[in-house]
Structure formats: structure tokens, C-alpha cells
């Protein structure tokens, strides 16, 4: 009994830094934000309770709704495009050719570029008057396009930025591809399956655990997209790339409606949790687990 007690204390001693951080920097603020989300707190006057009105009036705010729709675009269109791209590039890096590891080194590099530099690079490339993209289009006789000024391009350019910086996702898929046992491909070849068929019946099912992991992580990251949109165009033009987090940031730090901003934060947290749980729940149907009975 005594020794169990001592073991418990020893454990708590080692994890003390995390425990302190969890209580003071997570539990306390999360609790506070729950309480304040039902008030009109603005950091100047003492808060008054406003019931559910912070939550109910959100759905009448057109900019809030537009930001929410934009964010859903990044999550449900941007993320799948990104995953597809990452799988294709990692398959390319998986070919048994000399020098391929050198390519891998360079493909990963953009992932490490600070977001502010990535944004500058994209501004240079897509600049209407001086950009290299419009220059290339010029060859084909296509007139200059205002990539950064048109609403229609605001979101796709951010998706492209995420694709360019997809290095870590590519490495995760590459590791998964290397983990596929060779004998499966040999068996498939003997059964007369071609390259493309092998990819769909062997490669894809075998890397589903990596797809699930990347899907969940990238969905969570895209729900919280802020820096790209803020630095590229402050969410413009006409809120075309305003994201949920950008809108919440404006609500809190520009308009000082902290109570409302905290209500928005909780709704996003709830949306993320629900979607994550749904994805994880359906994953039993499509993710292959080695050694598990794959229903």
C-alpha cells in the first residue's frame, strides 16, 4: 500500500510540469471561456449575462456565415485535394531510382519555410503585373489575370500554398508506402494485375491508416486556418478568404466583443469534435488494420 502511494507520488512528481500547464493554461482558460461565452464581456465593463444570445445571433451574421462556409471549403475540398496530391507525390518519390532521395530532400524544404515567407513568395509569383505565372500565360497569349484581386481565386491560392508546403504529409505517405510488403505486389503480378490495378487493390488499402491519420490532422489544422488568410489578403477581397478563425480574431481583437468571440470558439471546437468523431467512427469501414478482423 505504502509503495503504491510512493509510486503514485513519484509519477505525479515527474509529470508535474505537464500537470501545471494542463491546469493553468488549459483547464482554467477553457472553463473561463465557457462561462464568458454567455456574457457580453468586452474587457472594459464588467460582464453581464446574456444567456444564449451570443450563440443564437451568430446565425444571422452574414460575415460569420461566409467565413464558416469558406472554412468548410478548405476542410472538405482543400484537404482531399491536398491528400490526393501528397499521395501522388509520395508515390513518385517511392520509385526505385538512383538519386531519388535527393529529390525528397528538396520536395520537403517548402514545409520548413515560415508562413510569412511562403505568403511573400506566392504574392511575387501571382502578382498581376510582375508575376511569373502571368508571364507564363503570356506565352500562350492569355491576358494578365488578377490572381490576388479576384474573389474566385482567393481560396484556391491558399489551397495551393498548403500543397506547396505539404512536405511532412508527403513523408508520412512515403513511410507508409515503404511499409507495404513487397510480396503482396509479387502475388498481384502473378495474378495478372497491372500497375494501376495493384495500386488500387494493394497500395491504397495498405496505406489507409496513414490516410486516416493525415485526414484527421489536416482537417483539424484547416478548421483553424488563420495565418495564411490573414497575411495574404486579410481575408479579402470581400471576405472571400476570410476563415472562421480570422472572423473570430476580428470579433475579439478588433471589435472587442470577447464574449461573442468565445461563443464562436466553442462552436468551432464543437464542430471539430463532431467531425473528428464521425471520421474516426466511419474509419472502421475503410481503414485496414493489420491483424485486425477487417469488417
Amino acid at each position: 500500500m505504502r509503495s503504491q502511494m510512493r509510486e503514485e507520488l513519484k509519477f505525479l512528481g515527474y509529470i508535474l510540469p505537464w500537470l501545471v500547464g494542463f491546469l493553468l493554461f488549459f483547464l482554467v482558460p477553457a472553463g473561463a471561456s465557457m462561462v464568458y461565452s454567455f456574457t457580453d464581456y468586452n474587457a472594459i465593463k464588467p460582464p453581464h449575462s446574456v444567456g444564449w444570445s451570443n450563440y443564437s445571433r451568430l446565425f444571422e451574421d452574414p460575415i460569420y456565415l461566409k467565413s464558416l462556409r469558406n472554412t468548410l471549403f478548405f476542410v472538405f475540398i482543400g484537404v482531399p485535394c491536398n491528400l490526393l496530391f501528397q499521395i501522388l507525390v509520395s508515390s513518385l518519390l517511392n520509385v526505385p531510382r538512383r538519386g531519388v532521395s535527393l529529390f525528397r530532400t528538396f520536395y520537403y524544404l517548402p514545409y520548413l519555410v515560415p508562413m510569412i515567407a511562403t505568403v511573400m513568395i506566392f504574392r511575387l509569383i501571382f502578382s498581376t503585373d510582375y508575376g511569373i505565372v502571368n508571364h507564363a500565360l503570356d506565352w500562350f497569349g492569355i491576358a494578365k489575370i488578377g490572381w490576388l484581386e479576384k474573389e474566385a481565386f482567393a481560396k484556391p491560392i491558399i489551397v495551393l500554398m498548403n500543397m506547396w508546403a505539404a512536405g511532412s504529409g508527403i513523408l508520412i505517405f512515403l513511410a507508409a508506402l515503404k511499409g507495404v510488403p513487397r510480396h503482396l505486389y509479387e502475388a498481384a503480378t502473378m495474378d495478372g494485375a497491372g500497375k494501376i490495378r495493384s495500386f488500387f487493390v494493394i497500395t491504397l488499402p495498405m496505406i489507409t491508416p496513414a490516410i486516416l491519420f493525415s485526414l484527421v490532422m489536416q482537417m483539424i489544422a484547416n478548421f483553424q486556418l488563420f495565418t495564411e488568410a490573414y497575411l495574404l489578403n486579410k481575408g479579402g477581397p470581400n471576405y472571400a478568404s476570410s476563415t472562421y478563425m480570422l472572423n473570430t480574431y476580428n470579433t475579439g481583437f478588433r471589435d472587442f466583443k470577447f464574449g461573442l468571440a468565445m461563443a464562436q470558439s466553442w462552436i468551432l471546437t464543437l464542430i471539430i469534435l463532431v467531425i473528428t468523431v464521425v471520421v474516426l467512427a466511419t474509419s472502421r469501414r475503410w481503414v485496414y488494420y493489420e491483424g485486425g478482423d477487417n469488417r
Binding site: Q4, K10, F11, G13, Y14, I15, P17, W18, G21, F22, F25, V28, P29, A30, A32, S33, Y36, L92, L93, V95, R97, T105, F106, Y107, Y108, L109, L112, P114, M115, I116, M120, I121, F122, L124, D129, Y130, G131, I132, N134, H135, W164, S168, G169, L171, I172, A210, F213, S214, M217, Q224, T227, L231, G252, F253, F258, M262, S265, W266, T269, T276
Partner: protein
């Protein structure tokens, strides 16, 4: 497959690899090209890949319009180093607790730890900001540094995964020799885990260096800025000076690129061990 067919496949694969290379590295080369141009030449259409003349004027203009730039670089470096140290110290300590003690509450708390990784940060963001304001941490580096000394869940997970691969026989031998769990932690696990600790330190350094959001939110006085935040000022004031913007961007990514060049192994292993994304 015939011989010429195999050669065609190889050719096609190399061609695709080169196209990929152009996609990933081309934009960086364009950045280099722009930063070496005169301001006038950067505004030419059609643009040219090779600057003529090659000039480093952009850097002089950058440091002239941002007189605090060197100061900010020093700030960024200091903060990132302190964050890296804190991450390794606290992360390895907590990971040791989870990997090597027999407490009953261990599994339950580990689930809580993992859950905090899944919960989006904005849940706590605004109250944290208000708390920092109230305790006098706003406009100091404390909100950027202190959390790294309180063991981020991701790093605890990373280190714990590695600690679990170290054979327990080594612990037992230490206990027989009269050592305590502290001896096991400092003399056995830490020395054996240098590679994964390096990975953790490097990631913490890079993420701290490149971070926009926290310093943007918590710093106000220009003297305290990190380089990334200072650079953002330039977008507002010198948006027509493309070479200077490019030069600033290059400076922001250079330390990371150099680190990557010399410690590539730690970067790739870290990604594969945990599969992180930002």
C-alpha cells in the same frame, strides 16, 4: 517488359521527378532571383529569371527601413533556443513519468494528455490572452516561452514512444546498483535518447522561429518583436519594394534551411515517428 520499354519508364519517372522539383524549388529560386534585382528590374514585365545586374542593394534597403532587424533576429534566436531547451527538459521529464513509473492513474492521465492534442487551441486562446493581460505577461516573451517549459503533449508523446523502446533490463540493473528512478532518467534514458531529443529540440526551435500567431497576438512593443512579426510591418509600408520583401523572406527562412542542411536526418525521422503537421 522489353528493354526499350524499361528505359522509357525510367525516362518518364525522371521527367516527373524534375517537374516536381520545379514545382517545389522553382518558387524559392524565384525568391532568390527577386532579392538580387534592383527595384526597377523587379517591376519589369516580362520578368527575367537572371537578374542583371546582380545586386544586394535590397538587403541594405531592408535593414535601412527596418532599423531593428538585427535586434529582432537576436530576439527570435533567443526565444527559439529557450523554447527548444524547455521543450526537451520538460517533455523528457514528463515522458519518463509516463513511460517508466507504475502509477495507477497513469493510463487515465495519458488519455487526457492525448486528448489535449486533439482539442483546437482557440478554445483557450481568448481567455489566455485576457489572463496574460491580467498577470502582466502581455507584451513580454513569457507567453511564448513558459508554455514550452510545461511539456507540450506532442513532445511528451514523441519522447515516450522512444523511451518505450529502451530495454527495461537497464533500469533494473541500475536499481540493483542502488540507483533511484532519477538515476535511471539522467544516466540511462537521457543519454540513450539523444537522437530523439535532438529531433524534439529542432522541431521546437523551428516552430518557435517561424511562429506568427503567438508573437503577433502577445507582443506590442517593437523592441520585443520577433523577426517574423517585424517583417510583417514591411508588407504594410514597403509593399512596392519587392526585392526588399524577398530579401526579408530569405532571411526568415535561412536559419531553418541551414539547420535542415546539417541535421536533415532529425527532421525526417521526427516526421515519420509522429507524423506531425505544423
Amino acid at each position: 517488359m522489353s528493354r526499350s520499354n524499361a528505359r522509357a519508364t525510367a525516362l518518364l519517372q525522371y521527367l516527373l521527378l524534375l517537374i516536381g522539383l520545379a514545382v517545389f524549388i522553382g518558387p524559392l529560386l524565384w525568391l532568390v532571383s527577386t532579392m538580387l534585382k534592383t527595384q526597377g528590374q523587379s517591376l519589369e514585365f516580362p520578368p527575367r529569371w537572371i537578374p542583371d545586374p546582380v545586386t544586394t542593394e535590397a538587403f541594405s534597403r531592408l535593414f535601412r527601413s527596418l532599423p531593428l532587424a538585427w535586434h529582432w533576429l537576436g530576439n527570435s534566436l533567443l526565444i527559439a533556443v529557450l523554447v527548444a531547451i524547455g521543450t526537451v527538459l520538460s517533455g523528457s521529464l514528463v515522458a519518463f513519468g509516463f513511460a517508466r513509473t507504475q502509477a495507477r492513474s497513469k493510463n487515465a492521465l495519458f488519455i487526457v494528455l492525448m486528448a489535449t492534442m486533439m482539442i483546437p487551441y482557440q478554445t483557450t486562446l481568448i481567455p489566455l490572452y485576457l489572463i496574460y493581460k491580467n498577470i502582466g505577461w502581455y507584451d513580454t516573451w513569457l507567453p511564448l516561452i513558459v508554455p514550452s517549459y510545461l511539456a507540450g503533449a506532442f513532445y511528451v508523446f514523441l519522447f515516450r514512444q522512444f523511451f518505450l523502446t529502451v530495454p527495461r533490463e537497464l533500469d533494473e540493473a541500475t536499481y540493483i546498483d542502488g540507483g533511484t528512478s532519477w538515476t535511471v532518467y539522467t544516466r540511462i534514458l537521457l543519454p540513450l535518447s539523444v537522437p530523439v531529443l535532438m529531433t524534439g529540440a529542432i522541431f521546437a526551435f523551428v516552430f518557435s522561429w517561424a511562429d506568427f500567431f503567438s508573437p503577433f497576438l502577445f507582443l506590442q512593443t517593437a523592441e520585443k518583436y520577433t523577426f517574423i512579426i517585424g517583417l510583417q510591418l514591411l508588407i504594410g509600408t514597403q509593399s512596392q519594394d519587392l526585392p526588399a520583401l524577398a530579401a526579408g523572406s530569405m532571411i526568415s527562412l535561412l536559419p531553418i534551411a541551414i539547420l535542415y542542411l546539417f541535421a536533415q536526418r532529425y527532421f525526417t525521422e521526427g516526421v515519420v515517428l509522429t507524423g506531425t503537421k505544423g
